[in-house]
């Protein structure tokens, strides 16, 4: 307090001839406080600037929102498709053809062992008689089988992996291990269409990733351009600030925060767009699902995914502003 009073006294009464330098002075705490305050001021100030020109700000933010919403929405659709495929039964089923000389009790022991494995959801036993009966029913070779003296069918175990182990790689490693069991003659897996489906999903994921990268670059450019225009329209102000001793960091700050706000507000609007779009799609999807006797509902953005969207928005906003500021602020010097 004493210091403040003295400074006031100096100016008001033309007291001593001593004139201090212009540094802020004070303790480190004071300094940090002033620094934090300066950031807070820039944060609020830049938001105020955005609200001063609501129409043009909204248009910029809307473009950013659409660019962010597209990859987010597609990513979400993809996730939902994956959810559908995970719901399909028998997507990846392993058939274990047992050796002919295995008796009934060892089949049951094997069955118990398999059921105990974490990777395995369920096991269905098809006894040789059952297989023969089914074969007779489904094929035209029933008569030919009569010629055989004994049942040629082995005992078959249909192994259904749990959801978590249904991906091609996991099922394949399971298949490997099961085929090495002493009771097993052949272990077989019809993966073709599962693999195709996963390959298709892979392509989808890659496409979404590419789209996301391209649109992220678009957001960077949009924000960079917005900030560049803001810098140009504030040329005089920047000159004056430089003339009275503003550091580059001080002049940069409101522009960087402006980029941050554009990115954040764009991301929030993108979230709203995705959520509303999903809500509009959910009704028809449920009707379709009912037609297939299913009960499927579209999943919206999860909390972590929403947070990620906001974070990406903020970072792109800041990054775009940073690029523009680095390029254009240095050019403005008082003359």
């Amino acid at each position: 307090m004493a210091r403040f009073r003295k400074t006031e006294h100096d100016v008001a009464t033309e007291g001593s001839g001593k004139r201090g330098a212009s540094t802020g002075g004070g303790s480190i705490i004071d300094r940090l406080h002033a620094y934090g305050l300066a950031h807070l001021q820039a944060l609020v100030f830049s938001l105020g600037r955005i609200s001063h020109s609501p129409v043009s700000s909204f248009m910029t933010i809307a473009v950013i929102a659409i660019a962010l919403a597209m990859p987010s929405g597609l990513h979400l659709l993809l996730k939902n498709f994956q959810g559908v495929s995970a719901g399909w039964d028998n997507a990846a089923q392993v058939s274990l053809f047992l050796k002919q000389d295995i008796n009934r009790s060892s089949v049951e022991r094997l069955d118990d062992r398999l059921r105990a494995m974490v990777e395995i959801d369920s096991v269905t036993i098809i006894a040789p008689d059952q297989a023969l009966a089914e074969f007779r029913r489904l094929s035209d070779f029933g008569d030919a089988l009569k010629a055989l003296s004994e049942n040629p069918f082995p005992t078959v175990l249909l192994v259904q992996p749990t959801m978590a182990y249904s991906a091609p790689a996991a099922v394949k490693s399971l298949l490997q291990r099961l085929s090495h069991l002493p009771e097993v003659e052949v272990a077989q897996l019809d993966m073709e269409w599962v693999e195709r489906w996963y390959a298709l999903m892979e392509i989808g994921k890659r496409a979404v990733l590419i789209l996301a990268i391209l649109l992220a670059m678009a957001v960077l450019l949009i924000i960079g351009n917005t900030i560049r225009l803001a810098i140009q329209s504030r040329r005089d102000e920047i000159e004056v600030q430089k003339l009275i001793g503003a550091t580059d960091a001080f002049i940069r700050r409101p522009f960087l925060y402006s980029g941050f706000w554009h990115g954040l507000l764009g991301a929030i609007l993108a979230w709203v767009l995705v959520t509303v779009s999903l809500w509009l799609l959910d009704g028809p999807v449920q009707r379709l699902s009912l037609l297939y006797d299913g009960n499927f509902s579209l999943q919206s953005l999860t909390f972590p995914a929403s947070l990620l969207l906001l974070l990406v928005g903020m970072l792109l906003g800041y990054g775009g502003a940073r690029i523009a500021v680095g390029r254009h602020l240095r050019d403005i010097e008082p003359s």
């Binding site: 008001a12 004139r19 212009s22 600030q241 001793g245």
Partner: protein, 234 residues
Amino acid sequence: MIQFNQAGKRYEGGREGLSQVDLHITPGEMVFLTGHSGAGKSTLLKMIALIERATYGQVIVNGKNLSRVRRGQIPYVRRDIGIIFQNHKLLYDRSVFDNVALPLVIAGHGHGEIQRRVRAALDKVGLLDKEKRFPIMLSGGEQQRVGIARAVVNKPPLLLADEPTGNLDPQLSAEIMHLFEQFNQVGVTVLIATHDIDLISRLGHRTLTLEQGRLVGDSDGRRATVEAGDGQVP
């Protein structure tokens, strides 16, 4: 406070804005800088404020050799210099208070101290009742006084003024000059570029004369005061 040793500014194309100037202004002096348009008055002021750099020679301000000041340090040099412009260079989208507060905000002062110092500076220039106005609502003389308040609010040891009375009538010009004298009386070094010979001779301070970039005259103001006291109109 200010020292030029054979300093000069040569522009691209070979034209010299300032040629081989030797100059020494001691702390607490009040000095006028005069000469025709294009004689190099502005160039000299700009070199002190590091808006332009000397192409040769040495410029020392406040004990700092300006040729050794890196780009990043320029703001800190400028904070010790209050600059007043002919066209005021105020920010027209901010109130008088905010304009004057800007150097303090830039230097990172706390809210309370800013309030006190801005009010004190506005009081000094007689605009305390207009702190909430915007510059556009003020007269030319008032705008100039806002510019002066902004220049002194940080209490720099050196004030530079480039044609501060250029657009003002004699009455207002005299008031502005009187303000500068008041700052000078409390120890601030003041350097004023002006072509208002009348005013200079009436006030009677040391006067530097530039002609085509060269320093051609350095008159002691007291003689001028005596002359003015004798009632001779120069």
